[in-house]
């Protein structure tokens, strides 16, 4: 069974066509990345999967059931979302924030029990924030904050985890840490991870498959070697790119070519023939 099945989805805001005919399936336990230039519709696609907006046409199935057939609470018990922006001024402490993840499993005024506290503790352990439990959110660094919000999502016990640019504005060490933790989560708990990202080199090393969007159109879908080609990327991003093989593994590595290096680039690297 697929974790996500998106069938010929279109999304319009008034006159503006945000998504045009997107179709993809994501298997259970897959690490899936959505990439593309700003305004390509990545976040909209993620919001569709999160059930925050509905498509103008087409269908979205989650865990073999149409998204529409879930109640909000039911859905929140199976799918957790980490949005791009969370209000900065949050009065909660780290432990309280993570525990909020239990809300979809509790009645309106039901108190969190021992099991809920245990699950929150585990989620904090997985994301390596348990030592921050008593700290206030506004006292954390960007990387710690992001890990807390992901821990909150994990505490929801989801089968599917949706993340919108979880590594944005983090330094390389914290970026890798988040990605490592997501990969471990996928391997150890079988959680399906779907991530929107601009970090092409990073997702190339983690994601099993990628979806490349360009002005709402599906420009590429498949493993990194097939999607992260010079031709596809230069067309979608509209800039010169240097693409070669990552020495760490058999995945592509990308680098935009700045104007001041373009002469060198043209004479030294632009080799005619098939790109890679």
């Amino acid at each position: 069974m697929n974790a996500v099945a998106v069938q010929n989805v279109h999304l319009r805001y008034g006159e503006q066509k945000v998504l045009r005919g997107i179709s993809c399936t994501i298997s259970k336990g897959e690490f899936f990345a959505v990439i593309g230039p700003n305004g390509a519709g990545k976040t909209s696609l993620l919001r569709l999967m999160a059930g925050l907006i509905s498509p103008s046409s087409g269908s979205v199935e989650i865990m073999g059931r149409p998204l529409k057939s879930y109640s909000r609470r039911d859905y929140a018990r199976r799918v957790a979302t980490v949005p791009q922006e969370v209000p900065f001024e949050l009065p909660f402490r780290v432990g309280e924030t993570v525990l909020l993840g239990r809300s979809p499993h509790l009645g309106l005024w039901e108190m969190e029990g021992n099991r809920d506290l245990e699950l929150a503790g585990q989620a904090m352990q997985v994301m390596e924030v348990e030592h921050l439990s008593a700290r206030r959110l506004d006292q954390l660094s960007g990387g710690e904050r992001q890990r807390v919000f992901i821990a909150r999502a994990i505490c929801q016990e989801p089968d599917l985890l949706l993340l919108d640019e979880p590594t944005a504005s983090l330094d390389p060490a914290h970026q890798v840490k988040i990605m490592d933790l997501m990969d471990r989560l996928r391997r150890e708990k079988g959680i399906t991870v779907v991530m929107v990202s601009h970090e092409l080199n990073l997702v190339a090393m983690y994601a099993g498959r990628l979806l490349l969007l360009h002005s709402g159109i599906q420009a590429g879908l498949g493993p990194p070697q097939e999607v992260l080609t010079k031709e596809l990327l230069e067309k979608s991003y509209g800039c010169r790119l240097q693409v070669d093989e990552n020495p760490l593994g058999r995945v592509p590595r990308m680098m935009p070519v700045p104007e001041k290096y373009s002469d060198i680039w043209e004479s030294a690297f632009k080799i005619p023939g098939p790109d890679r």
Binding site: R47, A50, G51, L52, R72, R73, Y75, A76, R77, V79, A80, T81, P83, E85, V86, P87, L90, P91, F92, R93, E96, L100, G101, S103, P104, L106, L108, W109, M111, E112, A134, Q156
Partner: protein, 335 residues
């Protein structure tokens, strides 16, 4: 009440017990004290053997002081809860119960009622209530449209309402005669002395609103995380926001129609309890209900007993006492 590690239900129980005790003491103190003199020596006899005593004393307690204490309690808890809801809903620390224009709308209604020579009750109360309900409708239409209940358009809509009505109020005041003027000013500053025993049943209308808001404590917590996160955690954001907005506006309008515009309670009491108890609305809602009631009872007691002659509008006392208290707590928490 520093019990950070204690489980939530114990924190709730402890805060409710302490605040209920404070409210009880405030109520008894306010019933027993007044310009007619305190009657502490015979107070309990009056309370438990009504009628068997001096009918005059009995009447003062049951006919004059009790309705007033009840109004102070209901107004205090409604305004404090209203401020708490709007601060969470609009995610704005400056939000208070009047921010969406209820104050302006009801004031114009009340002043027009006074000009028409209506009695305080039910006449002026009814026009004030009508004024705030019309405002609520206008704000909902203004903030509605394609994406209903966006907090920026709500706040802007409310601020514009209050600005417009503020101008209308000034214009009406400029037309008024001296005798009316004092009446109008007391109403604008908040005045609990207008209540009469037959008015008190009206206040029961706030109870279902409070119960509804009480049930929504957990969604209110989640709303603090932002609309998208709250929605992804199972909250019907649009419905919850709409219900909170309407329930709060309704109960605040009921109170304002009886007491005028008592300021500051709705702004400061939620902040005071947030500083003392933390951000969880399951703690804050009962605390604001009980604490807001006790606070306004005590402020009203000061308003009617401290001046040598007559009394001050209670709205003067709420800010005079509350602002320094709030600043002290803020200073202590930042240290």
């Amino acid at each position: 009440m520093d019990t950070d590690s204690a489980p939530l239900h114990r924190k709730i129980l402890a805060s409710v017990l302490v605040l209920a005790l404070i409210l009880l003491l405030a109520g008894v103190l306010a019933l027993g004290t007044g310009p007619a003199g305190s009657m502490w020596d015979r107070f309990w006899e009056v309370i438990f053997h009504r009628g068997s005593l001096d009918p005059m004393e009995s009447a003062i307690i049951w006919q004059i002081r009790l309705p007033r204490v009840v109004l102070a309690a209901v107004a205090g808890s409604t305004l404090a809860l209203g401020g708490l809801v709007f601060q969470a809903l609009l995610r704005n620390p400056l939000a208070e119960p009047y921010i969406l224009g209820i104050s302006g709308g009801s004031a114009v209604g009340a002043i027009l009622g006074m000009f028409a020579g209506l009695a305080a009750f039910p006449g002026v109360s009814a026009t004030a209530f009508a004024g705030s309900m019309i405002t609520l409708g206008l704000v909902l239409i203004l903030a509605g449209g394609r994406s209903p209940l966006r907090r920026d358009s709500l706040i802007l809509g409310g601020v514009m309402m209050n600005a417009f009505f503020g101008a209308v109020i000034m214009f009406l005041i400029s037309l008024s005669q001296d005798a009316q003027m004092r009446h109008v000013l007391f109403w604008l500053m908040g005045d609990l002395s207008m209540i009469s025993p037959e008015q008190t049943p009206v206040l029961l209308a706030v109870v279902p609103c409070m119960a509804g808001i009480f049930l929504l404590a957990r969604p209110m917590n989640l709303l603090l995380l932002g609309r998208d996160t709250a929605a992804s955690m199972g909250v019907n954001v649009r419905l919850v926001s709409f219900v909170l907005l309407v329930l709060t506006s309704f109960m605040v309008s009921v109170v304002v129609s009886q007491s005028g515009l008592i300021g500051f309670v709705g702004l400061a009491v939620p902040h005071i309890f947030r500083l003392l108890l933390g951000p969880d609305h399951r703690l804050l809602i009962p605390a604001c209900l009980l604490g807001g009631a006790a606070y306004l009872i005590l402020c009203d007691l000061a308003a009617r007993t401290l001046p040598q002659e007559g009394e001050m509008p209670v709205g003067v006392v709420t800010a005079l006492v509350g602002a320094p208290l709030f600043i002290f707590l803020l200073w202590r928490s930042r240290r």
